[in-house]
């Protein structure tokens, strides 16, 4: 009798264990997928994709709720990478979400800033420093140019400027004379 009880208990434990492991694995698999998707997103955190940041968008893609062509800062390169990763079609960028722009950073006009601190929590990557009633400033190297600090500023002293001089961003162009095939 005792043996029977012990045996059934063991079987029960095993069954529960397997069930949990399966659940865990499913969670893990989804987590891994979300992370791999997020790896290809530009991390501008601008919410132009209609999700509150890159990771939420990655989650939506993983769940199949969103297409891969909603991220303007990532542009075609991101779309191609995601399409390849997920085995989906590489659609052209849906411009309803915005157009791809040249890299930019926010600049605070320090003579106008009243130190209201409203821009600080708006910045998704903590690129603004300053404290109450004092002038605020943007750490240009940390700023992703997401534009989210523009709206909250009551005195409109934040503007976006090109991230770097034209010459620093310049790349050798592809030789034009060859007909380029699409990958």
């Amino acid at each position: 009798m005792l043996w029977l009880a012990l045996a059934s208990l063991t079987v029960l434990c095993l069954a529960i264990g397997t069930a949990f492991a399966k659940l865990d694995r499913a969670n893990n698999a989804e987590e891994i997928l979300i992370n791999s998707i997020n790896d290809y997103l530009p991390q501008t955190q601008c919410a132009q994709c209609n999700y509150p940041g890159c990771r939420p968008y990655a989650e939506a893609i993983a769940k199949g709720e969103a297409d891969v062509n909603q991220c303007p800062p990532g542009g075609e390169a991101t779309i191609h990478a995601l399409a390849k990763l997920l085995g989906r079609d590489a659609l052209p960028l849906d411009t309803a979400y915005g157009e791809r722009k040249a890299p930019q950073v926010a600049l605070i006009d320090e003579n106008v800033c009243i130190g209201c601190t409203l821009c600080i929590p708006a910045c998704p990557v903590d690129a603004i420093v300053g404290s109450a009633k004092l002038m605020h400033t943007v750490i240009a190297s940390d700023c992703t140019g997401c534009e989210l600090c523009i709206a909250p500023c009551p005195v409109d002293c934040i503007s976006l400027v090109p991230k770097q001089h034209e010459v620093s961003a310049w790349q050798h162009p592809a030789p034009g004379t060859v007909h380029r095939k699409e990958s």
Binding site: H165, A174, T177
Partner: protein
């Protein structure tokens, strides 16, 4: 010394120089231009901030921005966007120095020799234009370095090092010795091609053994002067694909740079270089010592005034020139762009038209020609599709952009241009990746903090609410007690 044990370069090309070429090895000196242009951009194309103000007088050798010095004395008269000799055809922030003609120098008197080299703004004159002090510092991290002096003129049409060695062999050897002393090494390996007979004779006549300089002659195969293959042949050290000479403790410097270092140690800042000016057909070549910042058109006018063949070539095509040699060079409008440390040669006259490429026939000629054993046709396919991962597998980083594959390709594919494009695309992608990783970490931080704050706020609110409820309750208790008391003791 006999160096028959030097490995031949695998691949590479024996480039034909016209046999009747007239190379003038005299060292001319260009007149000091009234206006010198100083682009404030470093070798990685980062824009630098000026540390002088408009109207300020400066001496030759005085710093005007990090790593950039005034090439002569005068006044800073303008800070403008100005063209510069770069394939991008962009304009960059540039200081204009009105020279006062007196050419007064600021003495370089730092105690530490490397600081002296840094203050003298010595940059590689071979092509890349890296800071020389940084290079030496890096190579010395591994203890006593190996010293290689590179006098292998890479391309036909560039003869500035040849002229220097012919005209000033003793100065060159002395410079090698002072570098040997500075680094604390026993000797320098001095690599030179075996067809530079006049330069070799001049050096041998000065007894290089006296200076602990070991002259190694290499057969004339282009590109023997490329750093990685040169180091492998001279020292047996094979560089990994992502390494430079300094990473393996080798100080590999162009011969003119070595002379600049010597001058810096003597207190003279690096303010000039020798520029080869050659006709496109490579038949005529002259060498002119030129101040940095000299406008290219002024230099051309001077060159035309001393060499009739160059004057004729200039008349045939006075609007564009090639900056650099026939293989590595790029087309540029002839304007007031300044001479920089990296401007080793200018070609005048009409350039050959670019042939129209056809499809790759997989003949593998390019593989045979490649001096670093790559598969250019595979790299090409990867570059065209911007497939950086595949390009990496075919060792994109190892390519030295020598142009050998272009020359042999029967389909006229501009392979090297594609590799330049792919290298830049890769760099861009890496920068984006790094920026994204950092932004992601900061964003995670931000979100975590905001969530925690919201949670803390919610908890605090809940606590306050509970407290208030309790207060209300106790207030009710008190009221009830008062009421009871009232009931017990009715007013009389």
């Amino acid at each position: 010394m006999n160096h028959t044990d030097i490995h031949p370069l695998s691949g590479g090309l024996a480039l034909s120089v016209p046999t009747n070429a007239h190379i003038d090895a005299t060292l001319h000196t260009a007149p000091l231009a009234p206006q010198l242009y100083l682009p404030l951009v470093d070798y990685s194309r980062t824009v630098l901030q000026p540390n002088v103000t408009l109207g300020q007088s400066v001496l030759a050798g005085q710093s005007v921005a990090r790593g950039i010095i005034a090439p002569s004395s005068g006044t800073i008269t303008a800070y403008i966007e100005h063209s510069w000799p770069h394939p991008s055809n962009t304009q960059v922030p540039t200081l204009v120095l009105q020279s006062d003609g007196q050419d007064r120098f600021i003495p370089i008197d730092h105690v530490h020799p490397l600081e002296r080299i840094e203050a003298a703004a010595v940059h590689g004159l071979g092509g890349a234009g890296f800071s020389t002090a940084a290079k030496i510092r890096k190579a010395c991290e591994f203890g006593r370095p190996t010293l290689v002096v590179n006098a292998v003129e890479c391309e036909p049409g560039i003869a500035c090092d040849d002229a220097l060695m012919q005209q000033q062999p003793r100065a060159v050897l002395e410079a090698c010795r002072s570098l040997i002393e500075l680094l604390g090494v026993y000797s320098a390996q001095f690599a030179i091609e075996d067809d530079k007979q006049l330069a070799l004779n001049a050096l041998q006549a000065c007894e290089p053994e006296q200076y602990a300089v070991d002259i190694v002659t290499l057969p004339v195969i282009y590109p023997s002067g490329a750093e990685a293959p040169l180091i492998q042949r001279l020292t047996g050290i094979a560089l990994e694909y992502d390494q430079r000479a300094a990473d393996v403790g080798v100080v590999c410097l162009n011969v003119a740079t070595v002379l600049s270092i010597h001058n810096a140690l003597q207190g003279r800042p690096a303010v000039d270089r020798i520029v080869s000016i050659t006709t496109q057909d490579l038949h005529h070549s002259i060498n002119i010592r030129t101040r940095f910042g000299t406008p290219v058109n002024a230099l051309m006018t001077f060159a035309a005034s001393i060499n009739p063949a160059i004057a004729t070539a200039l008349q045939q095509n006075s609007s564009t020139i090639t900056v650099g040699g026939p293989l590595s060079g790029f087309q540029k409008t002839l304007d007031t762009s300044p001479i920089l440390a990296t401007t080793n040669a200018l070609l005048v006259g009409p350039a050959d038209p670019v042939p129209t490429p056809s499809a790759c026939i997989r003949c593998a000629e390019c593989t045979v020609a490649c001096p670093v054993n790559l598969l250019p046709q595979e790299l090409y396919t990867a570059a065209v599709t911007e497939d950086i991962d595949t390009a990496n597998r075919y060792l994109l980083d190892v390519c030295v952009l020598c142009g050998c594959c272009d020359l042999v390709c029967p389909a006229d594919i501009p392979l090297t241009s594609w590799f330049r494009f792919a290298k830049d695309a890769k760099r861009q992608r890496q920068q984006e990746q790094t920026a994204a990783t950092l932004a992601r970490a900061r964003s995670d931080n931000h979100n975590e903090r905001e969530t925690r704050r919201a949670q803390e706020k919610a908890e605090a609110d809940a606590a306050r609410r509970a407290q208030a409820a309790q207060r209300k309750e106790s207030a009710a208790d008190i009221k009830a007690a008062i009421a009871r008391a009232k009931n017990r003791r009715p007013r009389s």
